[in-house]
């Protein structure tokens, strides 16, 4: 699949003008909070870049992330950028099958050893020796541990690869873990979301191609430029929240007026993603704009964070029970302290003689 054409040549072949390409670079640059001058530099660097080799491994996943990246909407620049990279191995997209496909993977690794970007989609099951997800008879763990050491960097695509996702949801029957739980010695960029926003993926790749580095990451390994703000902070319905105007059901006056969905369970305030800024389907809309609260899919363990329709302010766990236990424990400690203090006092009272006038006169006690 790989050839020696530059990105600019590939794009030209596809009928993408330099003007459109610059526009793309400018939008990526602004999205990533780079200075405007960077857009031109980025365009030049990207245009001159040889196609970056990418190996895409699919583990315990639903292929939704790949769908999002490749087929979200009819040809757009980011799809073409994605096209224009040298996607050397992707088992869903690869033309051949069986031993040939596995041979291609081996070849890709050897050819670009230490240079390719490894994209991982899906979590890795560890329970029972990892038998719950295997490819060509090898467990996901085995494959990851084989491929990852040869990669330049790892991009964990989607919430499953980034945090374990839905496979890891309670009770986690397969013992699913995230890429970062296994790979410790490679830079890992988490691009969570169920699925993630396509432009975030292309943005990260563009950053890598332009700068040769990975972008600044937050404490969860997510690129800060895309995951720095919460959905809530960037939500167009935020003014209603500030005014205390809430939809109480999906079909009341508040819902029709487009008021805040907080009370209907919107997880926007605790979710960090770029949905409210980049939106989906070519900037058409995003869940809240369509009238449904955010599910919080780009946050760890979002599946176990209580009902999608329970307000964030409501407890998700059995608080009453734990509170009762806490009160009982506190009372027990209090009683114990009380008994200890009482014994101190009782002992003192027993041994102490009350003060008398003789004491004041300095006479010995009879």
């Amino acid at each position: 699949m790989s050839d020696d054409k530059t990105l600019a040549e590939t794009l030209a072949q596809r009928g993408i003008s330099r003007r459109s390409f610059l526009k793309f670079c400018a939008s990526i640059a602004s999205l990533m909070a780079m200075p405007p001058a960077m857009a031109v530099e980025m365009a030049e660097k990207l245009a001159a870049a040889r196609r970056q080799s990418v190996v895409y491994l699919s583990f315990q996943e639903c292929t939704g992330c790949l769908e999002s990246l490749t087929r979200s909407h009819s040809p757009k620049l980011e799809d073409l950028i994605f096209d224009a990279i040298s996607l050397d191995y992707q088992e869903t997209l690869v033309a051949c099958a069986g031993h040939f496909a596995e041979h291609i993977l081996k070849e890709a690794i050897e050819k670009n050893d230490g240079k390719f970007i490894l994209m991982v989609d899906g979590s890795i099951p560890l329970k029972d020796g990892g038998i719950y997800s295997t490819i060509a008879g090898r467990t996901n763990l085995d494959i990851l541990e084989w491929v990852a050491p040869h990669a330049a960097a790892v991009i964990a695509v989607g919430s499953c690869a980034a945090f374990g996702g839905i496979p890891k949801a309670n009770p986690n029957p397969t013992g699913a873990v995230a890429v970062s739980d296994i790979i410790k010695d490679k830079p890992i960029i988490n691009v969570p979301g169920c699925p993630p926003i396509p432009v975030v993926i292309t943005g990260v790749i563009a950053h890598y191609l332009t700068m040769g580095t990975i972008p600044d990451l937050d404490e969860l390994g997510r690129p800060k430029v895309f995951f720095g703000d919460s959905i809530h902070d960037r939500c167009y319905r935020r003014p209603f929240y500030d005014q205390g105007k809430f939809a109480k059901s999906f079909d009341d006056e508040g819902a029709r007026n487009g008021w805040c969905l907080f009370e209907l369970g919107c997880k926007g305030p605790t979710t960090h993603n770029a949905c409210a800024t980049t939106k989906w389907n070519g900037g058409v809309s995003f869940p809240i704009e369509s009238g449904h609260g955010c599910l919080g899919c780009s946050e760890p363990d979002f599946w176990d964070a209580g009902s999608f329709y329970t307000a964030l302010s409501a407890p998700t766990k059995d608080v009453a029970n734990w509170a009762a236990i806490g009160v009982a424990a506190g009372a027990a400690i209090g009683v114990a302290a009380g008994i200890a203090n009482r014994s101190t006092k009782t002992e003192t009272k027993r041994t102490r003689k009350p003060l008398t006038v003789d004491d004041l006169k300095g006479k010995p006690k009879s």
Binding site: R352, L355, V357
Partner: protein
């Protein structure tokens, strides 16, 4: 063994209670109590910060009643106060605290610092570190019946004088009356007019009253020295007499701490509710006024002010009564700055007046009262506490200030309608 460090520490452990624990826990070390204390404001010495005066008690509490303190004690790291420390603190706790309670008023977390000082004194007296003057006064109270050594015979002699002066019968040990009037030794010995004044007022009001030959002394040195055990002995004397005579109400005279000791601490000291009411003489006079039984004539021409005794106004809530009474006879009545709940102490309450060692300091801090008085320019100051009267007179004399100090009860008696 009579008094010792061990006895002192044991007394503190014995007297530390839930309020003390919560107060020490709550203290945020803001230091606001310093500016409320006249010993600090008039000297500027930080050692007079009220909460600092409690350090020995805090140490005992921390070591005996907190988990951290107990653990440290196990390893010998939490030290109990030493005898040398108690010696150092004796002057802080007895000479520079009049139990006036101004600090309790300003504490932002509501710590009753006076309550805490009382507990420190429990340990101080049990460890033998109480001032000699207070010890002697307490011994006289217990053994003779009065801190100044006034006996029942002295009382009888004064009754004779008062009866002769007023031409009225002054009942002694009369059962079944409305009021049992207590006296303070200062009133019996230094201000004998008080007895006659009370007799005239009660006569005009037509209420029945009596004095008692066994419970004539209202003051409670046990409370001042800080021994709840000795204070209880003195309170019990009054309770026994009042119950034997079956009086409805016991009147605490013009004395501050006597009222606190009997009314607020009394039932706790003897361990049961009283069968009678306890009221301050000003409360009784104001009730009689409200009922129309107290009628006066003639007005004072002098500019006057009222000095609120700390124990009455702050600890007892007797605020409006003296003002109601004073307005009956003194049209040119003005208030001092900080009058009422935040009035400044005369400097000699809480046993300080019985402590000779404290005299220079007490005279020094009178500067606060002087500042209050200088602003209003009065020629007479009325009060309702014999101890305040003594202290104010001394302070005024020392500062060459020509201001008379009057008893409110006596002032009212002088104006009784004929």
């Amino acid at each position: 063994m009579s008094t010792s460090l061990q006895q002192g520490l044991a007394a503190m452990i014995d007297k530390i209670d839930a309020p003390i624990a919560s107060f020490f826990n709550s203290c945020v070390h803001c230091g606001m109590c310093a500016d409320a204390c006249l010993f600090y404001t008039e000297t500027g010495d930080p050692k007079y910060t009220p909460i600092h005066k409690l350090e020995p008690l805090r140490k005992v509490w921390y070591r005996e009643f907190t988990l951290e303190g107990r653990l440290l004690k196990m390893f010998g790291l939490a030290k109990a106060p030493t005898d040398a420390e108690l010696v150092e603190w004796e002057t802080l706790i007895y000479d520079s605290c009049t139990l006036c309670g101004r600090c309790s008023m300003v504490c932002p977390v509501g710590n009753d610092i006076v309550y805490m000082v009382r507990k420190v004194r429990e340990g101080m007296v049990a460890s033998g570190h109480a001032p000699a003057g207070l010890k002697e006064a307490t011994v006289r109270s217990i053994e003779i019946g009065s801190p100044m050594g006034v006996t029942a015979d002295t009382l009888r002699a004064q009754i004779k004088h008062a009866a002769k002066d007023t031409g009225l019968d002054i009942p002694l040990d009369k059962a079944g009356v409305d009021y049992l009037l207590l006296m303070s030794s200062a009133e019996i010995m230094q201000f004998p007019e008080f007895m006659g004044a009370a007799a005239q007022i009660f006569h005009q009001a037509g209420v029945s009253w009596t004095l008692s030959s066994t419970a004539y002394e209202a003051t409670n040195s046990g409370m001042q020295i800080g021994s709840s055990e000795l204070a209880a002995v003195l309170v019990k004397r009054i309770v026994d007499a009042a119950e034997k005579l079956k009086v409805k109400t016991v009147i605490s005279p013009e004395c501050g701490h006597a009222y606190t000791a009997l009314r607020w601490e009394g039932p706790n000291l003897v361990g049961r509710p009283f069968t009678f009411k306890v009221k301050h003489i000003l409360e009784v006079l104001d009730e009689l006024r409200a009922e129309g039984k107290l009628r006066t004539e003639g007005l004072e021409t002098e500019r006057m002010t009222f000095h609120d005794p700390c124990q009455l106004v702050r600890r007892g809530g007797v605020h409006d009564q003296p003002r109601n009474l004073l307005r009956m006879v003194a049209p040119d009545y003005v208030e001092m700055e900080d009058a009422g709940n935040m009035n400044w102490c005369c400097g000699g309450g809480g046993g300080v007046s019985a402590n000779e060692r404290a005299e220079p300091l007490r005279i020094k801090v009178f500067s606060r009262k002087k500042k209050q008085l200088d602003k209003i320019g009065v020629s007479a100051m009325v009060t309702a506490c014999s101890n305040c009267r003594n202290m104010l007179e001394e302070g005024l004399e020392h500062n060459h200030m020509d201001i008379k100090v009057l008893s409110l009860t006596e002032l009212i008696a002088e104006h009784l309608a004929k």
